[in-house]
Symmetry: C2
């Protein structure tokens, strides 16, 4: 196996030869073999061991084993203790999930601070097959079946092409010692069921199962790459805006596709939608229809689909009072500041100048609502805010996120859009007030 | 189940309601239930049963059962006897493959001759899952994992969303009788191993396995559709010629891709190539390099990849003698005809006129070879055929497939390209001979 391992590094992972590597090591057979193989090849490695303190003295013996191994190999070793149980309670996640998060966070930190280039983990072909079967039994899609990646950011899995059996043969041949993980048998019910019951049956059917599986993985990854190309080409045509108000897609581009649902699923799957038929139906729906997930909305608006956050009303504060002595107030649309000023420089979208004696404190910053009326600066007479926004062809989502600054029952500023003429600075103004939102 | 079945037909297969249907029926539980359900729904069905004569009297009892069922249901029945064993020997295929071919050929014939619209088979969700697992254990790609299609040409599988258990429950509830397939237990080793050993374990892991599986299938089919779109968009740019000499692709379009191998595999996978690394390397190879399969060649030619049949030399005759009294001879490039003519109409690419007294029979039609020299009509002096073809910028594959007609050691015609001036018709010609290839 050593020769195969070396060839594999030379051919597929030659970058590791000129890099500083951390090996994530539990003390179990896989990671111990990985450490030995890397060391034998002369790679520049250090060991990093997490003690999750989940198995009392066993955990400490694992740690001692790893420290001793580092000494034997003559490489540096890092050990970190974690309070996994409390973490899982605070973060409301399983012990396994907690251990996983703590582990990867620490590795990332180590790598960054000590200038290591890659973190190596000991996942092998059988792990990969088990992951495939787990995802498959739960129900998944193409990306759930493409397996564990060989390289993912700075995490590399050099043992991925090798089987559990090859690793077992290697330890026997080289009389390598390692620590049995006592939790293996009990904790990982699902993985063990697959490992000890399902996979052996599949290997009876095809003794070359792992080799077949690897070629299946390669093929599926290639297909996934083609899917990604296709999506990115599609988005070049369909995605016409991507800004603070959300992403805007041209409906007609979806309609040109032979299977629009396939693309809608791929594009919107990360936003928590579950009612895919409703999502599909948006293509033909009336303007104004929408489908919501727990975090997002997908809105049909004329010939567009808009992916946006939930309405501001569902997201937080919608009204803030501003007193005369507030110099700076945090608001959902940024910091609002009041400044007494002497001279009036250029105006901008983000600020207005008003006659301080004409406004009554507290001012209120709130979302505009139906019935709001104002007197746009420079216009004679009043106009409904709704009509103003419509005439300005303001987009649906932008409209929802338009705020007004009011003084009593009067609009002072349609924020970011238009000041109200009734508060404007005139020759009679004694004190100018600048209102800025940024 | 009857209600679910009816809903499924209404929603997904309503086309069946206005069609004439043949049900492929073995007499086993699945196809018998399909017949009952279709009949109960009032669909326009006939039964078609194949007697493969593989299980002696059991086969005949199956046949009798189906005929009786047709009578009970009051529908037409077609029965065909097959000599499966001899067929499998003649066609060098397995008994199962033979039965499959005979079956589908007969159904297609029946449907066409008697104007049936669709052939219904009784594949269900468990069959689909087993097929997935079979393909998976053998090693496959995306298309091998997308399952049995609900509709494929005129073959429809209305039971695909239903489980074996639902079918079993239905027969019990309605006291439906059917014939146990005695071969089930023994013959189909692989399928039975999956059915009775692997699938039950997977269902222990996830009792909703079939539902999860169906959504996985839907997702994978969607991905496969996206892949197909991507390939067809790619070919619009990359495939610059598709003619008798093969398909010509622009190398630069492959090189623009992030994963060229994925596309090369999808595009060339049906042509028997196995050495995919060699295929990949063609992109960077010198002009003239090629990779062969048993049936095809992929050739790097300047900035193109050409997919072509194997060279003519590997494919058949390369030299044919033509006697003076041959009026018409079959050749690899079409029928060659000799005609004594009086007047000379317009010339064309496919024919020449020569002075009959200047040529010596037998003429020979053969592939050109290095060293061939001729005197192109209208030119003074001689020219190597190789130089002529190069100057004319004839493509690699066309060059290989260029034939010459010779008289003794002289070229009379570079067929389809240029006559030789030495045999041209002059004022002294007594008898004109027209040579035509078409």
């Amino acid at each position: 196996m050593r020769k195969d391992f070396n060839n594999h590094i030379e051919n597929k992972l030659s970058i590791l030869k000129e890099s500083k590597l951390i090996i994530a090591i539990s003390g179990g057979i896989d990671s111990v073999v990985l450490a030995h193989l890397c060391h034998a090849m002369g790679l520049d490695i250090a060991l990093a061991h997490c003690n999750f303190k989940l198995r009392a003295s066993e955990s400490d013996k694992d740690e001692a084993f790893v420290v001793a191994l580092a000494e034997t190999l003559g490489v540096e070793v890092f050990v970190q203790h974690f309070d996994t149980q409390p973490y899982s309670e605070t973060h409301k996640c399983s012990i396994q999930m907690a251990a996983r998060e703590l582990r990867y966070d620490w590795f990332a930190e180590l790598a960054q601070q000590l200038h290591y280039d890659y973190i190596l983990t000991a996942h092998h072909a059988d792990d990969n097959l088990e992951t495939f079967l787990i995802n498959f039994t739960r129900g998944t899609g193409l990306n759930g079946l493409t397996g564990i990646p060989l390289i993912n950011n700075n995490i590399v899995r050099p043992l991925l092409p090798f089987s559990r059996r090859q690793i077992e043969t290697y330890v026997k041949a080289h009389q390598i010692t390692w620590r049995e993980d006592a939790s293996n048998a009990s904790r990982k019910y699902l993985r063990n069921k697959l490992r000890h019951e399902v996979v052996p049956l599949l290997k009876e059917i095809n003794p070359q199962l792992l080799a077949s599986f690897q070629s299946t993985m390669t093929n599926l990854k290639d297909s996934a790459d083609i899917v990604e190309d296709s999506l990115s080409n599609f988005l070049k045509k369909a995605l016409v805006a991507d800004d603070q108000y959300g992403q805007t897609f041209k409906v007609v581009e979806f309609k040109k596709l032979s299977n629009p649902k396939a693309y809608m699923f791929e594009i919107f799957k990360h936003y928590g939608f579950t009612e895919w038929n409703d999502v599909m139906n948006l293509l033909e729906a009336q303007s104004g229809k929408m489908v919501k997930s727990n975090t997002h909305r997908l809105i049909k608006h004329r010939e567009f689909l808009i992916l946006a956050d939930l309405e501001p009303a569902e997201n937080g504060e919608t009204s803030i009072l501003i007193e005369a002595d507030n110099k700076a107030v945090e608001t959902p649309i940024g910091e609002l500041r009041l400044e007494d000023v002497e001279v009036r420089p250029e105006t901008s979208k983000n600020s207005i100048f008003v006659d301080k004696d004409l406004v009554k404190f507290p001012l209120e910053l709130r979302l505009w609502k139906a019935g709001d009326v104002f007197q746009p600066l420079g216009m004679i007479g009043k106009k409904k805010v709704s009509k103003y926004l419509k005439d300005e062809k303001v987009s649906l989502v932008e409209k929802e996120q338009t705020w007004v600054l009011t003084s009593g029952d009067k609009v002072v500023w349609l924020v970011g859009k238009r000041a109200d003429g009734r508060f404007k600075v005139t020759e009679n103004t004694k004190q100018m007030l600048k209102v800025i939102v940024r």
